[in-house]
C-alpha cells in the first residue's frame, strides 16, 4: 500500500470526490476508480458518452533538428510515416528483448513532437530518453502541468463540437488539432482513446482543466454524459484486446510476443531491432492471446494457464467479466502451439480447472 501522503493529486481531485468517486492509489496518483459502478459506467461509454480524467498520464515535448531521429531510434514504429497532426501508437523496446513502455507519438510539426506515456513509467521513460539524447534534442516533461480528459463514446463528437472551432465531426481516428476549446486557448484534441468506443482525448493546462471539465459536462448534458472511472477504462480496453503496460506487456515481454508486430517496423534501425527482427522471422516460443471462458469462472492477473493434462503452458495477464459480452474474458501468454484460434486451454480457478478457448481479438466488435 502506498501511503496517502506520498500520492500525487490530479488537478480535479476535489471535483471527483464531490461527484462521489471512489478514489484509489494508482501509479503514484490518487485516481477515481468508479462513480456509480463499473458496469453502468462501461455501458455509458459503449452507448453514449463518458469522461475519464486520466491526468496521471505523462506528456513529453521533444523539439529540434534531431527530435525525429531520437524518437525513430528509441521507438519501434516508423515515425517517418507521421505527418503534421497525426498520432501513432508505438513502444519503446529495451535492449534485452522487453518493452520500456508503450506510448503515443504526436507529430506537431517536423521539429516538434509530443510523447504520451504511462503514469507509472514517467520517470523511467524520461531517464531513458535523456540518457540517449546524444544530439541535444530539447526535451520538456510537461506531465505535472497537463491535465488529460478522455471523452469517449459514440455521442462524443456531436456533444463536443459546439465547444470548439476545430472540426471534431470530421476528425479522423488517430489525428489531432490544436486550438480553442471551451473558451481556452492552445488546447490539443485528438481522436484517440483506449476504449474502442470512439471519442477524443483533450490535453489542457491544469489551470484550464476545471473550466473544460465543466463545459464538457454542460455540452453533454442532453446526451447523458457521465464521469467514468479507471475500473471501466480497464474493462473497455480489455474488451478491445488493448495491452495494459504492467499487465500484458512489461520489461520482459517482447513486442513480437505481445502481438505488437504491427507497430514494430524493420524498415529502420531502433533499440534491439535486429534481435526483434530475428524473432519475427524465426517465430517466438510464447504469444499473447485472448481467450473466453467456456465454463463459469473469471480469470485474473497471474492465474496459471494449463493444457488438458494439467501442464502449465502460460499465465493470465488480464481478465474480467466483460460487461458488454456478459462473459468472462482474458488475455495471457501461452506457448506458441496453443496460440492458434480455437485452441483449448484451462485456467485453474480456486480448486477447478475451467475450460477456455483462444479467440481472435478484439473480443468486442461493434
Amino acid at each position: 500500500m502506498e501511503a496517502a501522503t506520498d500520492l500525487k493529486h490530479i488537478a480535479l481531485s476535489d471535483i471527483h470526490v464531490k461527484l462521489g468517486a471512489k478514489m484509489v492509489p494508482f501509479a503514484g496518483y490518487l485516481m477515481p476508480v468508479s462513480y456509480e459502478g463499473i458496469n453502468a459506467e462501461h455501458e455509458t461509454v459503449r452507448n453514449r458518452i463518458g469522461v475519464f480524467d486520466v491526468s496521471h498520464m505523462g506528456e513529453f515535448i521533444l523539439k529540434g533538428e534531431h527530435a525525429m531521429e531520437l524518437i525513430q531510434r528509441l521507438t519501434s514504429n516508423d515515425v517517418a510515416k507521421l505527418v503534421d497532426g497525426k498520432v501513432q501508437y508505438s513502444c519503446i523496446p529495451n535492449e534485452d528483448g522487453g518493452i520500456v513502455d508503450d506510448l503515443l507519438v504526436y507529430r506537431i510539426d517536423d521539429k516538434s513532437y509530443m510523447l504520451v506515456v504511462n503514469a507509472s513509467n514517467i520517470d523511467k521513460d524520461w531517464n531513458w530518453f535523456v540518457s540517449r539524447n546524444t544530439k541535444g534534442v530539447e526535451m520538456h516533461n510537461i506531465s505535472d502541468k497537463t491535465s488529460l480528459l478522455a471523452v469517449q463514446g459514440p455521442l462524443a463528437a456531436a456533444a463536443l463540437q459546439p465547444l470548439t472551432s476545430m472540426d471534431l465531426l470530421n476528425m479522423e481516428y488517430y489525428t489531432f488539432a490544436k486550438g480553442d476549446f471551451a473558451g481556452c486557448e492552445n488546447v490539443l484534441v485528438s481522436a484517440t482513446g483506449y476504449t474502442g468506443a470512439g471519442g477524443f482525448e483533450i490535453y489542457v493546462e491544469n489551470k484550464d482543466a476545471e473550466k473544460v471539465w465543466n463545459a464538457v459536462f454542460e455540452a453533454g448534458k442532453d446526451h447523458g454524459i457521465k464521469p467514468i472511472g479507471l475500473g471501466a477504462r480497464d474493462t473497455l480496453r480489455l474488451e478491445m484486446g488493448f495491452c495494459l503496460y504492467g499487465n500484458d506487456i512489461d520489461d520482459t515481454t517482447s513486442p513480437i510476443e505481445a502481438g505488437l508486430g504491427w507497430i514494430t517496423k524493420f524498415t529502420k534501425d531502433f533499440t534491439n531491432s535486429s534481435a526483434l527482427k530475428l524473432q519475427k522471422e524465426t517465430g517466438v516460443s510464447r504469444k499473447l492471446v485472448g481467450f473466453e471462458m467456456m465454463d463459469r469462472g473469471i480469470p485474473r492477473h497471474d492465474y496459471l494457464i494449463q493444457d488438458a493434462t494439467g501442464n502449465t503452458i502460460g499465465k493470465v495477464t488480464s481478465g474480467t467479466q466483460s460487461p458488454s459480452l456478459q462473459k468472462a474474458i482474458g488475455m495471457g501468454y501461452v506457448t506458441a502451439e496453443f496460440a492458434k484460434e480455437g485452441s483449448e486451454i484451462f485456467i485453474p480457478v480456486r480448486d477447478k480447472a475451467i475450460k477456455a478457448k483462444v479467440v481472435k481479438l478484439p473480443f468486442y466488435k461493434k
Partner: protein, 126 residues
C-alpha cells in the same frame, strides 16, 4: 450505508441473522460497495460442516475476487438459489435478496465474539 441493529457482524465483513439454531449469512453493505459490481457468487459448500472463520465460498466482482468466511461454526444447510442468475442482488439488497447461505449453528457461544452494528460501523469508519 446501512447496518441493521438486529444483525451481528464479522471483521471480514459478513453479517449473520440468528433465528433459533438457524442463521442467515451474507456480506455487508460496506463490503458490497468496496467490491463493486458482483458478477458471480461461487458457493460449493452446501451440506458441509465448517468451523468459524473458514471459507464457505467466493464472490467475484468485475475487478476483484474475495473469499467468504463463516461467522460461526455450523453446517451449510441452504445456498441462496436466487444468486445463481441474480448475483447483482448482493449489491442491491445485501441484507435481503442478497443473502448467501443458511447455517445450522453448532457452537452458539461463538456468537458472543461477533461485532454489534455500532462496533462494526466503527471498524469500517462509517
Amino acid at each position: 450505508m446501512n447496518f441493521p441493529d438486529q444483525l451481528k457482524y464479522t471483521k471480514d465483513h459478513e453479517w449473520i441473522m440468528v433465528d433459533g439454531n438457524i442463521a442467515t449469512v451474507g456480506i455487508t453493505d460496506f463490503a458490497q460497495g468496496e467490491l463493486g459490481d458482483i458478477v458471480y457468487v461461487d458457493i460449493t459448500s452446501a451440506g458441509e460442516t465448517l468451523s468459524a472463520e473458514t471459507v464457505f465460498g467466493t464472490v467475484e466482482a468485475v475487478k476483484t475476487v474475495s473469499d467468504l468466511f463463516m461467522p460461526v461454526s455450523g453446517k451449510v444447510v441452504e445456498v441462496n438459489p436466487h444468486l445463481e442468475s441474480n448475483p447483482e442482488s448482493v449489491n442491491k439488497d445485501p441484507y435481503g435478496n442478497g443473502w448467501m447461505i443458511k447455517i445450522e449453528i453448532s457452537n452458539a457461544p461463538e456468537l458472543e465474539h461477533l461485532l454489534s452494528s455500532a462496533a462494526y460501523q466503527q471498524l469500517v469508519g462509517a
